[in-house]
């Protein structure tokens, strides 16, 4: 991504836009919506890093989110520990969860892996409800203290975290590591034959994905000031996958746009009253049907080539790794 200065310019423009938006339009409502969308962005990016690259669709991403959020919840309310400690703690717990569930299930393919991860998340949700005395049942944990008093301040913090995580994961994805993950998606047996420790890479990517998702969960908990078992729900995982899809699979930066778009969409449609979710779902069908490669990433690529064609001599049509993202998706 940072090969080309135009990509960097695009990223900076995006960050500037996100930073300026609440200043221009103001109001705690918009800031709230943007903050939530940024956190969903973190979750979407982390999902894309693991599942987008390796092709192992994880239908239980909410497991890591929930683990992170509940860790933060317990630490803050039961033990009274300062919120800032909960982020690293959440990362550790989520990483642990990833190892625990990843080790036995990562050798599974396609729908089997998806189902295994989904089962993990469902079990955790059930456990939260069964042990209601400790976890507050469906009322969840309430009364967390906010990390940063100022709404705007927390938003900038979340935005900074999103940018940092995205940049980091993009860097890893463009590196040797990312190449191996993509190779695993292509043909795992060959990779193994070539002597690559496939298991190590798969687990490592799941752990990284989980750790950052858990961090997002902790941040979410300290922003919403409550933790509910609904975070573990299947719906949460599916929402995130939809965001990645709309953003553009395996692009890492696309899901950010996808997340922000979809969260904004759900909120902006409030004017439709009872029809809000109907309009949302229909819009989703239209996007999925007419834009099978997503909305955000392909749009950026087109924009970029248009800009490049406009300024200098036509640049080669999209760098190779990106083309491989789009094309390789079709080999199912």
């Amino acid at each position: 991504m940072f090969n080309k200065p135009i990509d960097l310019a695009g990223a900076v423009a995006f960050i500037a836009l996100m930073a300026v938006l609440p200043l221009v339009f103001g109001g705690n409502y918009l800031i709230g919506v943007l903050t939530v969308s940024v956190i969903y962005g973190i979750w979407a990016v982390t999902w894309d890093f693991m599942s987008g690259l390796t092709g192992r669709e994880n239908f239980g991403h909410s497991l890591f989110i929930g683990v992170g959020a509940y860790t933060a919840g317990f630490m803050n309310t039961s033990f009274g520990i300062n919120g800032w400690w909960s982020i690293p703690a959440a990362m550790v717990m989520a990483a642990l969860a990833a190892v625990l569930i990843g080790l036995p299930t990562l050798r599974l393919k396609g729908p089997y892996f998806a189902l295994a991860m989904l089962s993990g998340a469902v079990i955790m949700q059930r456990l939260m409800l069964i042990f209601w005395e400790q976890t507050g049942g469906e009322e969840g944990i309430n009364g967390l203290t906010p990390l940063i008093r100022s709404q705007l301040g927390f938003y900038y913090f979340a935005l900074a975290v999103l940018v940092a995580i995205t940049a980091l994961l993009l860097f890893v994805a463009r590196s040797h590591w990312g190449l191996i993950l993509r190779a695993i998606r292509g043909d795992e047996a060959t990779c193994q034959a070539a002597g690559i420790n496939v298991t190590y890479y798969k687990i490592a990517s799941l752990v990284i994905s989980a750790a950052f998702a858990g961090a997002g969960g902790a941040m979410y908990a300290h922003y919403q000031l409550q933790v509910s078992p609904q975070l573990f729900a299947v719906v949460t995982s599916i929402t995130i996958i939809t965001m990645v899809y709309v953003g553009g699979m395996a692009s890492i930066y696309g899901p950010v746009g996808g997340a922000i778009l979809l969260v904004l969409l759900t909120e902006l449609l409030r004017n439709f009253g009872e029809w809000r979710l109907m309009v949302y779902s229909c819009t989703l069908i239209l996007i999925l049907f007419f834009l099978p490669h997503g909305l955000v990433a392909p749009m950026w690529r087109r924009l970029r080539s248009a800009l490049q064609a406009g300024t200098s001599a036509p640049a080669p049509r999209a760098t190779l790794p990106l083309a491989a993202d789009g094309a390789a998706r079709e080999a199912e």
Binding site: V234, S281, F289, P292, E330, E332
Partner: protein, 283 residues
């Protein structure tokens, strides 16, 4: 004990109908149809709608099943076929269909539970166990329908075509079997099966707009445990799940049933991922 036997059998019959339809479309067309639960919901709502228009029960039920089958074919041809290049795309679009239908049901029928009248309202006592007539009917009809499907696949030309495509799609095409048309037929069958389950279970289970989600999660689990694409596997796994849930419900508490079945699924995936009857097993 006898009660567990009977109630477990009823649960299993409903699950089996759902699972068989799900595995059918997956085995043949490799489509993970997340809208399968929606067909179940539409079957139940269709029966409710037509009976509220004062149609007698049997025609209402059959009409509902037929319409859902047609809807299934529509979804396959218009929405799924263009997406077939990517399994995830199919997944996503069927999910979106499920969401749209759920919202449509909310807006049309409201959020409250609706009443689907039962074919048989009486209560039967078998060996000292009180069972509602509608449950026994579900068990009976469900078994018949699955048996009929099995015979259809084994004995008819169309059935052989379906078998052929599930075993080797390319060879089947070389043999001149029109796979696209078969996919539509299978989708219609699958949807019809799910709708039948909805019509039968409606009288004694939930009929509300979000009723599509839980059945699809369960069907997914059953089908994976039984072996994707295997009808005998699905039936066996449905029996296992139905009885496991019933036994846990009686022995411990209904709060634990879901966790037990999900845990069982997870364990099966970890230790024997191909399922009981493996992936490419013929029907």
């Amino acid at each position: 004990m006898l009660e567990i036997l009977i109630i477990g059998a009823v649960s299993s019959a409903i699950y089996a109908m759902l699972a068989v339809g799900f595995t059918l479309i997956f085995g043949v067309a490799r489509i993970l149809n997340l809208a399968h639960g929606t067909f179940y919901a539409l079957g139940a709502y269709g029966a409710y709608f037509f009976t509220s228009l004062k149609l007698p029960l049997l025609p209402a039920a059959l009409l509902s099943i037929a319409l859902v089958a047609v809807f299934g074919i529509f979804v396959e041809r218009v929405l799924i076929r263009p997406m077939r290049h990517s399994q995830l795309a199919v997944l996503m679009i069927t999910l979106a269909v499920a969401l749209v239908v759920e919202q449509a049901l909310f807006l049309t029928f409201g959020s409250e539970y609706r009443n689907v009248p039962a074919f048989v309202d009486a209560k039967f006592t078998i060996g000292g166990v009180d069972v509602a007539g509608s449950r026994l009917l579900a068990l009976g009809v469900g078994s018949l329908v699955i048996a009929a499907l099995w015979l259809f696949i084994q004995r008819t030309r169309l059935g052989s075509a379906i078998l052929a495509i599930s075993q080797d799609p390319q060879a089947a095409q070389y043999m001149g079997i029109p796979s696209d048309r078969i996919f539509s037929v299978v989708m219609g069958l699958s949807a019809g099966l799910a709708a039948t389950a909805g019509v039968l279970a409606g009288p004694f289970l939930t009929v509300q707009p979000t009723m599509w989600l839980l059945p699809i999660v369960k069907a997914f689990a059953i089908v994976v445990v039984g072996g994707l694409g295997s009808i005998p596997g699905s039936i066996l796994a449905a029996l296992m799940l139905g009885y496991a849930e019933t036994i846990v419900g009686y022995a411990i508490s209904t709060s634990w049933t879901e966790i037990v079945s999900v845990l069982a699924t997870l364990l099966m995936l970890v230790f024997r991922p191909a399922g009981i009857f493996g992936r490419r097993a013929a029907f």
